[in-house]
């Protein structure tokens, strides 16, 4: 599988089809890997793929701007790539998608993954198998049953730990705003003081901004240095987007994200007035 991937990357770079290949390489730490940017064909031998390849490399695509890049994408990452194309952050013709037939990495999302199909990629590395895994919303349903007070107590305890490093935002493929509200000073949405209340405001607004665009890729949760359970939010959002708008982000490259459009009668939402 790695050999196959290296050959593709080497050829793309040698034939100058792309400026960059973005994939994974072994890191200094035994058993770990990390994202790598390559622009020379001879570097392609560095490419690896194994269970430690958790990073969602789609996050780098909006930064490539007018250059061309090939990106290694697992099925789940592919959804983010599609979402970014849909949102015009990169042109489809500027990205070469090297899909990998992934059977799971070291991430909480893999045991319920139904995303390993690689529709629409330029190259497929390995053979896609049906892994027989099923979506499981029981953790979200259980959380939904808690009272507002219990939910609040839970999140207060989580966000008390937040150090507002913004790793969650910066690894998120759909958080590409060059001028994030969290950095604005005039008006100041968010004070620099780090406390539970401000930390919650940050994540609440971020979640609102990524609703219906977030693919529940878990990059934010994986990145959080203090282990905040962000997947409870991202999974709940994907559940709600499906329920309210019958919408699944990153399934295609041309539908409109639900909050960027509106219907006079939203079937999923009950009229209150």
């Amino acid at each position: 599988m790695e050999k196959e991937m290296q050959e593709i990357a080497k050829k793309l770079l040698a034939e100058k089809k792309v400026d960059w290949v973005i994939g994974y390489e072994n890191s200094f730490e035994p058993g770990a890997s990390r994202p790598v940017f390559m622009n020379k064909p001879e570097d392609a031998v560095k490419l690896v793929f194994n269970k430690s390849c958790v990073n969602n490399l789609a996050v780098y695509l909006p930064k490539i701007k007018k250059q061309k890049a090939a990106v290694v994408a697992k099925g789940c990452d592919l959804r983010s790539v599609r979402e970014i194309i849909k949102e015009h952050q990169i042109l489809r013709e500027n990205v070469v998608i090297i899909g990998v037939a992934c059977e799971g990495v070291e991430s909480s999302k893999c045991s319920t993954c139904t995303e390993n199909k690689l529709d629409g990629v330029d190259f497929t590395v390995g053979t896609v198998k049906d892994l027989g895994r099923k979506e499981d919303m029981s953790d979200i349903e259980k959380f939904e049953e808690l009272s507002s007070k219990e939910k609040e107590a839970f999140w207060n305890k989580e966000f008390e730990r937040c150090i507002r490093c913004y790793a969650c935002r910066n690894v998120c493929p759909v958080c590409y705003c060059p001028d994030c509200f969290a950095n604005r000073l005039m008006p100041e949405y968010l004070n620099k003081v780090v406390n539970t209340a401000e930390n919650k405001v940050f994540q609440q607004i971020r979640m609102q901004h990524v609703f219906g665009r977030c693919t529940d890729c878990r990059a934010c949760e994986e990145a959080c240095p203090v282990g905040i359970k962000l997947s409870l939010l991202t999974k709940k959002m994907s559940k709600d987007a499906k329920k309210l708008f019958n919408y699944e982000s990153g399934k295609d490259t041309d539908s409109r994200p639900p909050l960027s459009t509106f219907k006079v009668d939203e079937e999923g939402i009950a009229e209150i007035m």
Binding site: C165, V171, N191, A223
Partner: protein, 341 residues
């Protein structure tokens, strides 16, 4: 300074007694994967087996958000309120690289005859009881630094090292001696055998550290590489969050901002800031001299292994490896500075 001995049971009793009268911060489990310095109610909560807490002990003295003062507009005056000094605290169960971090930033916060009030105030109020590391992690590289070791006492008031089923307690400062004197019932005298055992312990632990940087070579290369094309590509995987700087025991940069209440009343706060953030060098009026992500990335390594060495004759790093562990994209400071050319 004196060496004492303390048994496991006595250590437990000591910590419990300390927790009754001080704020005792020690590695404490937050959830399955997270252990940070939290306030101990009792010894039971202390997680002894973790070397690398997710965040550092630094934030117990140098607060991430510190209120400097509040101001309130009165009829014809402005009233200032300063924060009352905090309770006396003990940081227990940190590691030599955590304690050394304090020693490094102590010099910064007392530089050129200027004493930083909030920091030194907290520092004077805090006793640091450190535990030597038996099995360093693969990310540890404390032995790269002058005197750095998994059993080094720099920055600690008391250093505990496991020897023959007990702990050797080295009382390294006046503060450490005072605390041991106050709780002398828990300590006994240590002999030469235990001191020798500690030296053995240190040797064995040091031998387990796999990576040692040649700091003289690193400095030489960084001195010459500011404009090198090396920086054009090495930064690309970095997403420029602040995780590495906010979990670091030696990063000290801060910002000062106002928070207002009502029309004219407010407070002035000091909050950590990070050279990785685009806001870090943004000035009033919008100009940003550190224009791009490459320059921000370069700054972190240049500061730690070049500029700080020029100013303080030591690196702004203790080799704890937290930035390596917590970086979401596996940027490895050892590799970045070693390969700079």
């Amino acid at each position: 300074m004196a060496n004492k001995l303390i048994t496991q049971e006595n250590l437990k009793a000591l910590v419990n007694e300390l927790a009754a009268s001080y704020d005792v911060f020690a590695p404490k489990r937050e959830n399955k994967n997270t252990v940070s310095f939290g306030k101990l109610q009792s010894f039971e909560e202390y997680v002894s087996g973790v070397l690398l807490t997710n965040t550092t002990a630094k934030d117990k003295v140098y607060l991430q958000s510190e209120q400097l003062f509040q101001y309130e507009l009165k009829k014809d005056t402005v009233e200032f309120k300063e924060k009352a000094p905090g309770k006396e605290a003990v940081i227990f169960g940190g590691r030599p690289c955590d304690a050394r971090g304090f020693d490094v930033i102590d010099k910064l916060f007392n530089w050129s005859g200027y004493e930083d009030g909030p920091y030194t105030g907290g520092r004077k109020n805090t006793t640091i009881i450190t535990v030597s590391c038996e099995k360093p992690e693969t990310t540890c590289f404390c032995t790269s630094f002058a005197g750095g070791s998994p059993a080094d006492g720099k920055g600690s008031d008391i250093l505990l090292t496991p020897v023959s089923g007990k702990f050797l307690a080295e009382l390294l400062t006046e503060r450490g001696e005072k605390l041991a004197a106050k709780y002398s019932k828990y300590f006994s005298e240590a002999g030469d055998a235990e001191t020798a055992a500690k030296a053995e312990f240190a040797k064995a632990a040091e031998a387990k550290i796999t990576k040692k940087l040649d700091l003289a070579a690193v400095k030489k290369n960084l001195d010459a590489s500011f404009d090198s094309p090396y920086w054009d590509t090495v930064h690309l995987p970095c997403v420029k969050c602040g995780a590495c700087t906010y979990v670091c025991p030696t990063c000290y940069c801060f910002d000062i901002t106002e928070k207002k209440f009502g029309y004219l009343n407010g407070e002035r706060n000091r909050t950590w800031d990070s050279c990785m953030s685009e806001m870090f060098t943004k000035m009033a009026g919008g100009h940003n001299p550190r224009t791009d992500t490459k320059r921000r990335f370069r700054q972190r390594f240049m500061h730690k292994f070049r500029y700080h060495v020029d100013n303080f004759k030591e690196e702004l790093c203790t080799g704890c490896g937290r930035c390596i562990r917590r970086c979401p994209v596996g940027i490895d400071i050892r590799k970045v500075v070693e390969e700079a050319k």
